[in-house]
Amino acid sequence: MVKPSHTKEEIFAILSAIADPEIPVVSIYEMGMLRDVTFSDKGYEVIITPTYSGCPAMGIIEQDIKMMLDKNGVTPATVKLVYDPAWTTDWMSDVAKEKLKKYGIAPPLHSSCTQDVFAHNIIECPHCHSGDTVMISRFGSTACKSLYQCNDCKEPFEYFKCH
């Protein structure tokens, strides 16, 4: 059997440079989309999972991964999309959540979706940190976000829904 020239950790480190196409301040690694790397006679296989089933960014992410690995000599490599286990906002790292906040997106409050998702929670304004905010629309510019407005600083902002 051929020996892999790169370890899983090294590959993850390389792929950490890839930003989420829709939220460029966080990487696909921080979002929890990178699940695993396997090695066989056919080469490397990177396992990724979609955040939302219809996420249009998945195609771009797949291409980005292939290009990045190619550039770093990790070849041949393929990308495999898996649904199991289903992605959850739990996998988003604390660093990612902090970055989202700085970017103006309120990070997901809850862990995995349970019934209390729809309870009236206090979503903190990422701009002035006020808790006095109101939901304008449960659906926003991308499938993963809702629209909110802060009653104190009056700024509108997006909230990354728990999933």
């Binding site: 979609p50 089933s53 219809g54 199991d84």
Partner: protein, 239 residues
């Protein structure tokens, strides 16, 4: 399941730029996107199980009307906003209970897609319920419109719970869900929301049927004419 997602997605996409308010436009097209993703996952898997090398795109764009198995309710034209909301309420409630059970399927791929889908359907259903309550318990006009939609769609709801012999076989292997259980939960939940919305639950009467034999309303053909146009006119065209 793949066809249901595909056709429902198509109908919801038609609301793009036509919804009563911008937020609604976003919501309905967001749902359509979730459903397209689900259709991709389901149809890819169907092609894989079939083993003839057909892809999700092959199944979506190269099958004829009689080879589609989506429920009739999915293909009906959108009607007015109340009609679309009433349909979304019926279908998303069904999908909620359906995928909730399918998560435990012995087929791990179906279980994984279901686990993903249930998170999305929960949002679709919550949104539909919000509107059913608002329209039903709103003005006289909104009440009448949603009641009319509920009445007209009712005869298409029975089909959601129909099963065939093959379903029973799959059920025995713990792959498929237990339909009568889902039907009971659906009825109970629908009745509860409709009565809260001050709406009358239609009496059980004649129920439309046919989709599990590939027999459709005249509307599916029109959808496919538009959806499959490019592949028919320019076979194998890609982006």
């Amino acid at each position: 399941m793949g066809d249901d997602a595909l056709i429902q997605s198509y109908r919801l996409s038609e609301w793009c730029s036509n919804a009563p308010i911008l937020e609604e436009d976003l919501a309905l097209t967001n749902f359509a996107l979730d459903m397209t993703g689900r259709a991709q996952a389901m149809l890819s898997y169907a092609g894989q199980v079939e083993g003839k090398g057909r892809t999700d795109d092959d199944l979506a764009y190269k099958r004829k009307e009689r080879d589609f198995y989506n429920h009739l309710i999915m293909e009906l034209p959108n009607g007015d906003f109340a009609y679309t909301i009433a349909r979304l309420f019926f279908t998303s409630t069904f999908e909620f209970f359906f995928f909730n059970q399918l998560q435990n399927s012995a087929d791990t791929t179906l279980a994984a897609i279901a686990a993903k889908t249930i998170k999305e359907v929960r949002y679709h259903n919550a949104h539909a319920i919000d509107w059913v309550l608002r329209l039903g318990d709103g003005t006289e006009e909104s009440h009448n419109k949603i009641q009319k939609a509920v009445n007209e769609l009712w005869m298409f709801t029975g089909e959601l719970f129909e099963t065939e012999e093959v379903d029973a076989l799959l059920r025995d292997q713990n792959i498929a869900v237990d339909m009568p259980v889902i039907a009971d939960k659906w009825k109970e939940h629908v009745a509860q929301v409709l009565s809260e919305a001050t709406l009358t639950i239609p009496e059980s009467g004649y129920m439309q049927s046919g989709s599990n034999k590939g027999i459709h309303t005249e509307h599916l053909g029109h959808i496919l004419t538009e959806m499959q146009y490019l592949q028919r006119a320019y076979p194998e065209a890609t982006w």
